[in-house]
């Protein structure tokens, strides 16, 4: 035991893949959480809203990261689960008067079930074929939401308008700020649970499947079970993000949840670093802020500028933000050794 413990506590050089491949160290985590807690105190309301959206997308990117980085399955259909989560929360709040916070676990559960069921037929597909099947799901979803048959619940093409929650207990803060802290707490809970999951027996089983299905099966891992579970968990977390997104934007409409959203989440995962959970927030910040930055360079060619930035990132940082984190970690270690 002791020998293993020693090695576990040992900090890893950058050359080998660190033990903390899924999470940040204690110091780094404290710094990030403090920054996230303090940032809204100096920001304007609109910036707070944008930061809330970053956190919400970070949850959705994290969900995709569990699926792709964890179990090795691709999905271009995350927008569909996001939409189901958003609509579930919206319908529960507006038609049934359920408290906004209570709608989240329900949306998560509904999406878990959808993801799990979708995962069953998806078992027969892998790689690019699975990506295409999920792509179909993403393209179908806005049309399904517009269906006349569900219009009574979904509001059809018009969508649904949601009232933004006030801060409880008469706390002296704006709605935007309250929502930011609410989302921050939810996202931290989800982050910690996800790190736990990936470091656990179930997470190891998923990663084993990602690396070698036949060998995993020979070790007693039920490949079908863990693949569908990964789909379920990923969809469930995306559903919670969708619910939060609906509350933050105060509006759900079919065309907010097109394939473009799914691709944005995929992009966020790649920029953040596939399989590195803390990168999710970097990826989310990228998909929220970089399009705006691109627009400031040139209104007419914002898409092209965005493309150039993206290509640069892929060339310079093929492993996403994870690469920066490792480099910084390496510097800190070198400085520490010298000092």
């Amino acid at each position: 035991m002791s020998a293993l413990q020693e090695v576990v506590n040992d900090t890893q050089p950058v050359e080998t893949t660190p033990k903390k491949y899924m999470a940040l160290g204690t110091t780094a985590s404290v710094v990030v959480v403090l920054l996230l807690c303090l940032a809204p105190l100096i920001a304007k309301n609109f910036v707070i809203f944008q930061m809330t959206m970053v956190l919400i997308y970070a949850i959705a990117v994290l969900a995709l990261n569990i699926l792709t980085g964890g179990s090795g399955q691709f999905s271009l259909g995350q927008s569909a689960f996001y939409a189901v989560g958003a609509y579930s929360s919206a319908i529960l709040m507006e038609n049934f008067g359920v408290n906004y916070a209570l709608t989240l676990p329900i949306s998560g559960a509904i999406c878990f079930l959808c993801g799990y069921l979708f995962g069953l037929p998806a078992l027969r597909l892998s790689g690019i074929y699975l990506a295409l099947a999920t792509f179909a799901l993403a393209t179908a979803m806005p049309q399904l939401l517009k269906l006349h048959y569900f219009e009574h619940w979904t509001g059809g093409v018009q969508g649904l308008v949601i009232t933004k929650p006030d801060a409880p207990f008469g706390l002296p803060m704006s709605q935007d700020m309250w929502l930011y802290y609410f989302v921050l707490v939810v996202s931290m809970v989800i982050y910690v649970a996800s790190v736990n999951l990936l470091k656990s027996r179930s997470g190891r089983a998923m990663m084993a499947i990602r690396d070698n299905e036949i060998a995993a099966s020979a070790m007693g891992v039920d490949v079908a079970r863990y693949k569908t579970l990964a789909f379920g968990v990923s969809a469930g977390i995306t559903g919670v993000a969708g619910g939060l997104g609906a509350i933050a934007v105060q509006f759900v409409a079919p065309d907010s949840y097109t394939i473009q959203l799914a691709i944005a989440l995929f992009l966020g995962m790649v920029v953040g670093g596939v399989g590195w959970l803390p990168g999710s927030i970097v990826g989310a910040a990228f998909i929220v802020f970089v399009p705006n930055i691109a627009e400031e360079f040139s209104k007419g060619l914002s898409g092209a500028v965005f493309g150039v930035i993206l290509v640069l990132i892929i060339f310079l940082l093929p492993h996403g933000s994870r690469q920066i984190a490792y480099t910084v970690q390496n510097w800190v270690h070198k400085l520490g050794r010298r000092g």
Binding site: A3, L4, Q5, V7, V8, S200, A205, A215
Partner: protein, 266 residues
């Protein structure tokens, strides 16, 4: 044939009974029968295409025999799906090493113990007390195995960066973590140099002696089989040619003919 009768007198750990495998019109295995006693190291030999790998894949449940049965401690394994073979005590390694390349050595070995542990995703995400204690016990067990196979110094290295010989030991460690009764080794000497082959042979004997694990060795390398195995079964063209002690099989005229060709063919 007297050897076969002698070896089947005690109740065997593993019994292969009249197993045949047919792919389309090709008979890959034709009525193979043999027994494995507890604590034995059984070498399965044969030239290319003899059916060794096919038989191996039947034992690890990747292929379904068209005829016959395979019994572990008297119970058929053929009704079980491949992922439920580890739990009854059949462990294996792969021909060209099939580790989880992006995971560390410890994590590879931990996955090996998957069938000996229990959890669900909710308790895992919440890191419930029982999860903590079972992970602690698992870490102890994994550390013991890593120490046994002298892998502690690479415990946290990603597997893909390790030399081939070390990867083979990691694969053995992973198989041992499942606490197998019988260990199936698929051409373990492949890709190793002369010296490494004999070190591996010693290791296999040591594992048998220390842990009482029965070993089925499917191997091309005659030298390793003859120096490691207690009992040898020789196959050719899907049929059993001979079985017996290494010396008996080595001197069997049919086996010599299969490996070297007969005079008329030359």
């Amino acid at each position: 044939m007297t050897q076969a009768q002698v070896s089947s007198s005690a109740s065997p750990l593993l019994a292969v009974r009249d197993v045949s495998v047919v792919f389309g019109g090709i008979v890959a295995l034709n009525g193979i029968s043999f027994n494995m006693q507890k604590g034995q190291i059984l070498g399965l030999i044969g030239p290319n295409g003899a059916g060794k790998t096919t038989l191996f894949n039947c034992l690890s449940r990747l292929y379904q025999p068209s005829k016959g049965d395979i019994l572990l401690e008297g119970e058929s394994i053929l009704t079980r799906p491949p992922h439920r073979i580890a739990e009854i005590g059949i462990g294996r390694t792969f021909q060209n090493v099939a580790l989880f390349p992006n995971m560390s050595v410890v994590d590879n070995v931990r996955v090996g113990a998957h069938c000996r542990t229990n959890s669900d995703i909710v308790s895992d995400s919440l890191r419930m007390p029982w999860i903590r204690s079972s992970e602690k016990a698992l870490n102890k067990k994994v550390d013991d195995i890593l120490g046994y196979l002298e892998l502690r110094n690479v415990a946290h290295t990603t597997v893909s960066g390790l030399p081939f010989g070390t990867q083979k030991r990691v694969e053995l460690a992973r198989a041992l973590a499942a606490e197998p009764k019988i260990l199936l080794l698929d051409e373990p000497a492949g890709g190793l140099n002369h010296e490494e082959v004999y070190i591996l042979g010693d290791l296999v004997r040591r594992i048998r002696d220390d842990r009482g694990i029965t070993v089925l060795l499917v191997e091309h390398h005659m030298g390793m089989v003859m120096s490691t195995a207690d009992y040898v079964v020789a196959l050719n063209f899907g049929r059993k040619l001979a079985e017996g002690t290494p010396t008996q099989v080595q001197n069997d005229p049919d086996v010599i003919k299969a490996y070297l060709g007969s005079k008329d063919e030359q």
